[in-house]
């Protein structure tokens, strides 16, 4: 990536953060408002970086530029686990659970399931593994989503509403109680991803290249999937599922930093995601007064981007 591109991204991100924090700040209650805004900013930044990094990592391990954790049903899996929790514990029991323990349990369970399912698919050498992974992932995604819906249907209306509320992305109202816990999971996961950066560069070459160069391929695949699962759990817990956001961000990162090392790619994707999310939410919430609309716009733009990738024949 050229230094100028990096500089422009950094400036845009700084602008979005500054607008978010300081625009329209009245004379009274400054500290209180700033505190509220900073908390929401932290949540948005965490979600953005999680989605961006998870998507880049997943595309690397899947050797494919149009797959995202969301398309493969990672977030649907999280929702399924959540509806199952509501179903077994009841609405009251679910609401009574301490936010941290709930988040930790859901995240752990989801990571275990994701690593078991996708690890079996991506860890082997068979040349058709990628195609099989795509199909399996899409099918699993549908399965998880309809599983979550089915469980929700069987619940009483109250419980259904609790599940529904968790099933749609809302950047305007990040789940406040989980922020600390989410950060405690996401930040070490991101640090590990950056530390393993050169290993991902090797992983991206594919098993047939990476193994002769000395990469413990299977272990690396499993670690990557665990990181993707953790980061997706974080973003889904905070704002709900975001299907195409990761696709846009990872696509842009690869376009702006062609052939870059993974450390650069991961940071670029995180910065781009944060810029889009913070700037976009600022524009929709403060300028247009449409707090909950950004997710729809992003999904729509992402959908078009996805189609464009398909039509350009970038699907592999």
């Amino acid at each position: 990536m050229r230094p100028r591109t990096a500089l422009v991204i950094a400036l845009l991100l700084a602008l979005a953060v500054a607008l978010w924090l300081f625009q329209g700040l009245g004379p009274g209650n400054t500290r209180f408002v700033l505190g509220l805004r900073a908390a929401k900013l932290a949540a948005l930044a965490l979600v953005a970086a999680s989605v961006g990094m998870a998507t880049v990592l997943f595309q690397t391990v899947a050797q494919n530029r149009i797959l995202t954790p969301a398309i493969m049903g990672f977030d649907a899996l999280y929702l399924l686990i959540q509806s199952l929790a509501v179903a077994t514990l009841g609405t009251v029991g679910f609401a009574m659970l301490p936010a941290g323990a709930k988040f930790a349990a859901e995240t752990l369970l989801m990571t275990a399931v994701a690593v078991a399912l996708f690890g079996a698919l991506l860890g082997r050498a068979a040349p058709d593994a990628i195609g099989r992974t795509i199909l399996t992932g899409v099918v699993l995604g549908i399965l998880f989503r309809s599983g979550a819906t089915l469980v929700a249907r069987m619940l009483d209306p109250n419980a259904h509403a609790v599940v529904q509320a968790a099933s749609f992305a809302d950047f305007g109202r990040p789940a406040a109680g989980t922020l600390g816990w989410a950060a405690a999971v996401a930040l070490p996961a991101m640090a590990l991803a950056l530390a393993l950066g050169p290993g991902f560069d090797l992983l991206a070459l594919g098993r047939e290249r990476a193994v002769p160069l000395g990469l413990p391929h299977r272990a690396m695949v499993l670690i990557t999937l665990a990181l993707v699962a953790l980061l997706t759990a974080v973003s889904t817990a905070l704002v709900g599922p975001v299907a195409f956001f990761g696709l846009i961000v990872a696509g842009l990162a690869h376009a702006l930093a062609p052939g870059a090392r993974h450390r650069v790619l991961l940071l670029t994707a995180a910065a781009l995601a944060a810029t889009l999310l913070i700037g976009g939410q600022w524009a929709f919430e403060r300028l247009l007064g449409l707090r909950a609309t950004l997710s729809v716009v992003i999904e729509c733009a992402g959908g078009i981007f996805f189609l464009a990738l398909l039509l350009k024949g970038r699907i592999r």
């Binding site: 494919n64 082997r124 050169p198 070459l205 098993r207 047939e208 000395g214 413990p216 391929h217 062609p258």
Partner: protein, 255 residues
């Protein structure tokens, strides 16, 4: 490290019950160029991929210079054995120099020193890639890309080099240059296993020929012993005449 060759014992492979490699026991000698020949689907790629631990075998053992491939750390093996497969497509977008630099990974783990830079520069030169070093691989012609992949394997500077059909896409000058390069590596103490379809390259450059058919090793020995009319005609199920040139067999397969 003693160069004891590649010792293969009871190695077999099967996919969904279909036997692709019958139990094979053979030794590929160190310090030689060994050519692996045989018709399409004979199992040449399968054998070389099993040696390079790309897939774990269901049965049997492979030891490279005494290192058991199944139990030795993969990072250690990467300093003993370099491998270039038959299909060289890459998902990631890389420049030629970056690809070749990956060959140094086993030695520097992503933090190249002066030695690594020198090895990359030499490999680029050896394969006429210096003018292309800054280009993205997907902008190269087939033969240029093949040379870049070869340069990466050679930059790994391992005692063993395993190449599956390295002559793919190469023009005749670069094909001959590659074989000459392999011969220089051998003269410097290196060991090479190379899958070849053009039997005359095997006849002219190999010290040892292994012939496979239908998942079995059916002949092994010096070129003059394996590349005979009878053996080749049986191997390929088609009549092949063999002449002689400069004391080595000359296979007239095109006639």
């Amino acid at each position: 490290m003693t160069a004891t060759g590649i010792e293969i014992s009871g190695l077999r492979h099967a996919i969904r019950g279909t036997e692709i490699l019958a139990p094979a026991t053979l030794t590929i000698p160190a310090g030689r160029i060994t050519a692996l020949i045989g018709p399409n689907g004979a199992g040449k790629s399968t054998l070389s991929r099993l040696i390079a631990r790309i897939e774990p075998p269901p049965a049997g053992t492979v030891a490279v210079n005494g290192l058991d491939v199944a139990t030795t750390r993969t990072g250690r093996l990467a300093r003993e054995l370099a491998f270039l497969g038959q299909h060289t497509t890459l998902a990631s977008r890389l420049r030629v120099r970056e690809l070749v630099a990956f060959g140094r990974w086993p030695h520097c783990h992503g933090r190249p020193g002066p030695e690594d830079h020198a090895a990359v520069a030499r490999a680029l030169d050896d394969f006429d890639l210096a003018p292309l070093a800054g280009r993205f691989l997907d902008t190269l012609s087939g033969g240029q890309a093949q040379r870049a992949h070869l340069a990466m394997a050679v930059a790994q500077q391992t005692p063993w080099l395993i190449l599956d059909e390295p002559l793919n896409n190469l023009d005749l000058a670069h094909a001959r240059a590659l074989m000459a390069h392999l011969a220089r590596l051998r003269d410097g103490g290196g060991s090479i296993l190379v899958v070849l379809h053009d039997l005359n390259f095997a006849a002219a450059w190999a010290d040892n020929v292994v012939a496979m058919k239908a998942g079995r090793v059916i002949a092994e020995g010096p070129p003059a012993a394996v590349l005979t009319e009878d053996r080749l005609s049986a191997l390929y199920d088609t009549e092949i005449r063999v002449g002689s040139h400069g004391g080595r067999p000359l296979v007239l397969h095109h006639l």
